[in-house]
Every structure is written in C-alpha cells, then in structure tokens.
Symmetry: C2
Amino acid sequence: MTKQFSSVWTREMRQPKTSGLRRDQIVTAAVEILDAEGLSALSMRKLGAKLDSGATSLYWYVANKGELLELALDEFWGMLDGADPGEASWREVVTTFAYSFRETLLAHPWAATLIGQLPSMGPNSLRLTDRLRRAFVQAGFTGTDIYLSSGTVMCFVLGQVMPELAWSNAYGDAEPDRDALIEDVLELAHEYPEMVEEYRATPPMSVATARALAFDYGLLCVLDGLAARLRHPRESSGVPDESAKMQP
Amino acid sequence: MTKQFSSVWTREMRQPKTSGLRRDQIVTAAVEILDAEGLSALSMRKLGAKLDSGATSLYWYVANKGELLELALDEFWGMLDGADPGEASWREVVTTFAYSFRETLLAHPWAATLIGQLPSMGPNSLRLTDRLRRAFVQAGFTGTDIYLSSGTVMCFVLGQVMPELAWSNAYGDAEPDRDALIEDVLELAHEYPEMVEEYRATPPMSVATARALAFDYGLLCVLDGLAARLRHPRESSGVPDESAKMQP
DNA sequence: ACCTGAACACCGTTCAAGT
DNA sequence: ACCTGAACACCGTTCAAGT
C-alpha cells in the first residue's frame, strides 16, 4: 500500500487576497507555541484559541496538522543565516554555518524532530539549499560532489544535535542536580569499569561544553574529510559494494 | 522551572518474580506495534488490547508512556551488532558498524525519532557504547578522543538517516510516482536554475542508491577525518573560541 | 500483588450549518 | 469565501474498587 504523496507545497493554495485569518499569521502563532512549549504541546485547539478562532477554522487554510507542521518547519529553515562566501575561506564559511545551524536547532528543538518526519521542500528550505550549493561550488566542489559535500555538513550537524536534545527534553534546560544524574549513569554502567574509569579520568566540565567539544571534534573530522575529497575527487570507501547491496 | 529528571533506569523496578504480565512481554509487544505501524500508532490502549489486558494494567509495570518508550528504545540499541574488532582494520570495523547501524535505523524508523527525545541509558545502550569504545581504543584513540571519535560516527549515521526517514514517512515505502514528485520539487525550485540544471545533469538513479551514495561519501569524510585525528591527536577547528562562547 | 472500569481532560478531523 | 459547533473516534493518566 503505497501512500499517495502530498505536501502543502504541491497543491494550489487558496486565494491569498481576502479577509479573515491569514496563513502566515497561523504559522507564526504555531511557531510561537512550538518555541514556548514544544512539539507535543501544539494542538489545533490551542492554536485556534491563540488566534481567537475555533480550532476547526484552521482547516480552511491547512489540510491537516501535518501541513501546518510542514509550514512551521519551513519557517525554521528561514531562520538560518548565511553561508555567504564573502572573502572567508571555505573552511571558515562551512564552520560558521555549522555553528549557526547548531545554535538554531538547539533554540528550536521541535524542528529537529520534524526534520525526521516531514520532507523539507518549502521555499526557505530550497533557498538555503541553493545558498549552500553556491558556497560549496565556490569552495571548489564540482558535479555530484557539490550536493554530497553540503549534505554531509547538514547531516553532521543534525546528528550531533539530536542526542543533545534528548537530554534537555528529559532533563529540563537548567542543570539542577546533574551530579546526581551522572552518578546514576555511572552506577548503571558499573559492568563496564573501563568506561567509568575513563569518565572519572577526564577533567570535569559542564554538559554544554562537553557537547560543544564533541561538536568541534566532529566538525574537524568532516572538514578534513571534505578537504581530502577536494584533493582527490573520486575515491570510494572501504566496502563500496555494500552501498549498492543495501537497497536494490 | 527545572523538571526533576527521571528515567525507567533510575528507579527501583518492581519484583520480577510474580504472576501475570511481565515487563519484557510488554516491551516486545510495543516494539512489534512500533515496527508494524510506527511511533504515532502506539497507544497504551492498543498495546493493552494486544496483550489481552486493560490499557491501565500497563501502569503497574511502567510509570508512563515515556518509560515504555525508553524501554523500547533500549530494545532497539540491543538490535545492533558488533563493532567487534577481530582482525579487520579499524576503518573496516567502523565502516561495517556504520552500515549496520544505518540499516537497523531504516528498519525501525521510530527509534530515530526517539533518540532525539529520550535519553539512552539502558543496559543495551551502555553495552553498545562499551563495545564501540573498545573498538576505538583498538584503533589507537586515547583519552577523550575515544569518546569523541566514536560519538562522531554514531552522530554521523543518525544525521544521515533522519532526512531519509522524512521522505519514506511522507512517501510510503515503495516509490510509486516518484518521477511526479521530482517534477514537483524541480518546479518548486524554478527560482534556482543552477540547482535544477545540476540535478538534470546527474545520471538518474533510484532514491535508495542516491542516499546510499551520499552515506558512502559522508562516511569517507568522517573516516578520513578520524584518521587525521589519529595522526595529530590535538588540534582545534577554525574558530575554536566559538564553542566556548555558545553556551556559558 | 496485580488487574479492572469508570472517569477526566484532552486530542485531530469531518461536516452540516451559518454568515 | 470564510467561520462555527456539535459530533466521532480517539488519546494518556488517575484512582477507587476489586481479586
């Protein structure tokens, strides 16, 4: 049973020129709720109330909640700055983009979840893709490598941030009794003494700086890897045939 | 308002030795529903029905739905094979682990979502962490780099898979009229003619192989980056101070 | 120790009816 | 063209009551 694909972006919009609510008001209000209370707190009823209208009125502008979230997600993509080449080196451009993407994701955690659930094909998403594409062309990538290299950076940031969000979800934003939590985890890990010992051997630091350090390390790996691709455009990994075997 | 942290793993379990349902039966059934129908289809009521019991009976074994999902997520971590050093090179070990992680995520998409929402501190998660740790020690990483390098690989895979899942969510598993979809996207991207043209210039391939290719490319970057770290243990990225500035 | 049913406060969505 | 209210089929969770 192949579900027919559909998206807010692939169907005719309603006439934009009339009275009453407007779609962008709805989306703005939705993003406000998402930012303030998180993905699970956004309901059509609450959103309707915030707009002084019935929940069901929203269905005039949006086919269902999924479409609303697609629109919110595209708002998120619109929040990302730059990747403007300027006169900086490509490593600098990519680095500042990666950091700003990370910061924006951390500020709007609902977006990270949505990225795994809804396709991003709205105008802001496309505009960002094109900006990135230009940056990587300028860096010297050509052909398919343009798309592959920029995609690698995007995915890297996303993957780094996701587990980070899990902790802030379960833990709250502040770090109240994080020492107690750490002791809990170390206790749970008592079967793996090397792990525990290695943790105790590392200088103590806040969760935030530990995460930032990990991000920095990973970014360095990605950048070095991209630099290598830039030098030798066509190589393949250790077990190249696996990739073809995986999904025929 | 800092929410008090709690997790299934940090509180006393109920006596395991009695009659009736057992927690592992519940979790197994939950995973079956998740695999068959996805995260949004799992409800306490449906799970109760599947186990021939009332929905509310489950609350004897589990404090809330979140705990149930924590348990399911740990089941997922238990599904991952290996990272067994053996006699293979570290690049081979990491590569096969990355591919198997990817495959398992694609087979259990709900897990990817949960990774961004719940902390992973169950026994299977810890065991995997330790296996990875040993593999990276064997590869030659030391100190903090052990954790940083293995984390980079984990995050890389996760980040690659997430957007992939978005499409299969919206699109279904088969690829029915993907040509129509592609035309839709290209139409939406008409403001960026270079993007469109570049797409048309690349040889056509299935979505699956395109994704596998991107995965391969990114993995190559990460591996090369890790190899560079292995040669020069301590370096820092282009804008190191940013990382400290981000979250004080 | 374990399970039940009723009840509470919610959901997303449809649809006939209003203006 | 836009909005409403009632209604349907769901949710997660609590809690007194059963065995």
